[in-house]
Amino acid sequence: MIFHSLDFVLFFVAVTLVYWRLGHRAQNVLLLVASYFFYGYIHPWFLSLIASSTVIDYASARGMERWPERKRTFMAISIISNFGMLGFFKYFNFFADNVHAVLAAAGYDVGLPVLRVLLPVGISFYTFQAMSYTVDVYRGELRARRSLLDVAVFISFFPHLVAGPIQRASFLLPQVEEKRRFSIEQAASGFYLMVWGFFKKLVIADNVGVIANKVFALSDPSFEILWAGVFAFAIQIYADFSAYTDIARGSSRWLGFELTQNFDHPYLARNPADFWRRWNISLSSWFRDYVYIPLGGSRAGEWPWARNVMITFLLSGLWHGASWNYVLWGLYHGVLLVLTRAHDILRPASRGPRREARGALTVLQVAGMFALTLIGWLLFRETELSAIVRDLKLSPFDSTPLERQAGLYLFLLAFGYSIPLWVQSIWIETHRGEPARPVGWGTAALRAVACGVAFAAILVLRSRTSLDFIYFQF
């Protein structure tokens, strides 16, 4: 089931109404049934995967606690089953294609099987979430749960099941286990988040997505058209993914849950490290805690640190999809981080510019980081390596006046749609650190107007092309 459908609205209203009439255990049963209904709505066979992942991880965690001397065996079972499932559905064809290409290059034309099966939506998200549970139990940071129901609800909780944010067991499981109370403040903030999320998805992401799709469908883009398309894609992926997160967080609040924040205005980042503190935070922190730190993090010096960063980002790229362009994207961001660190080592921070120059420097840093991010999005969006090479060779000096006008037109169009995102980000950034004040009637009235304008915009400006959430494919 998808969020931007009438089916979901009816489903969500019905679940919420019934939910608050039930006791705690019955609420969890309802959440499990609702989550499985949500996930299996179009392809019921997906349920067999999430159910088996849940049972295996539950049993592995219980096994670790009961037989501590066999902890490693149970951990291995969990890792093999989760990564095995992910590898089979997500990476089998990638592996087979590459083996075939290597063999063909060596003169052996071997027909390897092709897997004709749909990639189960959200499999990368819930396998990582389930893994966080077993790894935390293995490390002794979490006790294994006795209740299979609670673990199943933790893994399958429908608001964030398909595209995150990936929740840690230590954060979400206690919320599943504890009695929840309906809070009108929480519900109100959830309502605003959901309206903002629907606006971002239907008005911003889907409209600029059409621009990006058109540009990336061209066989002969010019420099200006290509980069206008990359800009549109940058807006699309942020608006789209953060919209999903907002709707997930908003709907969770109506059910008495709090999910972690996944985005913190990433296009205002000043450097690569700052960007990764703001972009897809739940995935970045997963890789930090379960890959980067176990590899040694920054403990053993600069070279091992650089190696660990590159491995972490390579895997992060591969997590996004079974394609070399995602690997390139991951490595590109790894290189950016390493180069930033090298720069800091070679040129230690001075006292910094004078106060009046600080604002201009910040703007330059943000613009520079945004430009670097755009190069990354080109690698991410362009699936063919030959096309990436062609794109990077494009020169503005080869364009005709029409190409320049077309590029400017597309850029302005995408920028126009993205204005609400920039306004929100800049407003939050300039008010960061200020103490939270209770919501007064002035703010409430402003929010009511914003909700009305957002709904009006959805009615008249939603894209005629309804696109799936981008992160569904991962």
């Binding site: 009438l6 058209i225 006008q405 077309a406 037109y409 302005l412 009637w441 009511a448 909700c451």
Partner: protein
């Protein structure tokens, strides 16, 4: 505190529902020009339309073809009309529109072929998988649909209305009527999409030229092969013949062809082969095709399925499901043989 939060939530909900009513007032300020109602009131309000191409009727009557071929690029990339004419000795009239759908194919038969009074040996319609029973497939391609539609298309509209008569559309229509959103969309959407052109050029003529050039720049000729090929996969939920056949243009086409005494040949093209084999078909799609075949023949039509034809190998194809120039020649040759066998 709790009471204040509840009141603020109610105010927000009221704002959400009431402020868009301002669209009704805005529609009075920016009234759309006086437009005729659409021939598909089930899905759209009044709008500008491309005129009906009435001159196709006398052209067909004058040509008096032996074969009429209707379809989209599937037909266009498979049949070479001049070659088919040469091979069969009978004139071939192509009624083709790239990116058209079953509604256009039905209208072409009803509004051009039948009124022309011609008596071809067969009217051939090419389609992919479940196209014939999915009236919504490319129903929004109004630039093509308009060319074949009269001012009123009650049968087509009824089919579309039945097909979209789900709760979703009913709710959407009701919301649309309350807020007059479609009406507002007609003036607001162009204003939003054209503002960059207005910012760039002060004169209307320059803006028009830019937008025309943009349309050309993003046309089929500039697309990557696989994007131009439009390789949409058939979804199993569409492959339910019994659920969708009655709410499609298929019964209308078969009925009208039968009433006019025109043999209707429906050709299901083979999708692009994969790994040297015809593409895999799900069990649902196989069941669907079997039901479609039986239905077409029971209603007096002729059904032909290219899928699995050993002669239609990958080397005939160019991009997606389209055939190459050489593939088109070879396909036309094979098709001429089959036509002569089926319609001696």
């Amino acid at each position: 505190m709790r009471r204040a939060a509840l009141l603020q939530l109610l105010v927000a909900a009221a704002g959400l529902l009431l402020i868009p009513l301002g669209l009704r007032a805005a529609n009075r300020l920016y009234a759309a020009p006086d437009l005729k109602p659409s021939y598909l009131p089930a899905i759209e309000g009044p709008r500008d339309r491309v005129p009906f191409e009435a001159d196709r009727i006398p052209a067909l009557a004058g040509m008096n073809p032996t074969w009429v071929v209707i379809g989209d690029s599937m037909a266009g990339s498979r049949i070479d009309p001049a070659l088919l004419t040469r091979l069969t000795g009978g004139q071939t009239a192509p009624l083709l529109y790239a990116g058209s759908g079953p509604a256009w194919w039905y209208l072409a038969l009803k509004n051009w072929v039948i009124p022309s009074g011609i008596r071809p040996r067969a009217v051939v319609v090419f389609f992919r998988d479940t196209n014939l029973t999915n009236v919504m497939f490319r129903i929004d391609a109004t630039w093509s649909l308009d060319t074949a539609a009269l001012d009123r298309e009650d049968d087509l509209n009824a089919v579309v209305a039945r097909r979209r008569g789900t709760a979703f559309y009913q709710v959407r229509d009701r919301v649309d009527r309350v807020y007059q959103a479609s009406q507002a969309r007609r003036w607001l959407e162009p204003a939003v999409n054209e503002w960059p052109a207005r910012a760039m050029f002060p004169f209307r003529r320059q803006r028009g030229a830019l937008l025309d050039q943009l349309n050309e720049r993003f046309g089929l000729a500039h697309l990557r092969p696989m994007d131009a090929a439009d390789m949409q996969a058939t979804e199993d939920r569409e492959a339910d013949f019994d659920a969708f056949a009655a709410d499609s243009t298929l019964p209308l086409m078969l009925r009208d062809a039968r009433a006019a005494g025109l043999p209707l040949l429906l050709v299901r093209v083979q999708r692009r082969p994969l790994n040297g084999r015809p593409p895999e078909q799900s069990a649902a799609l196989r069941r669907y095709v079997s039901r479609l075949h039986a239905y077409v023949e029971s209603q007096g039509g002729v059904f032909m399925d290219d899928t699995g034809d050993p002669a239609q190998t990958l080397d005939l194809y160019e991009d997606g499901d389209h055939l190459s120039r050489d593939g088109r020649r070879r396909y036309t040759e094979m098709f001429a043989v089959r036509l002569r066998q089926r319609f001696p």
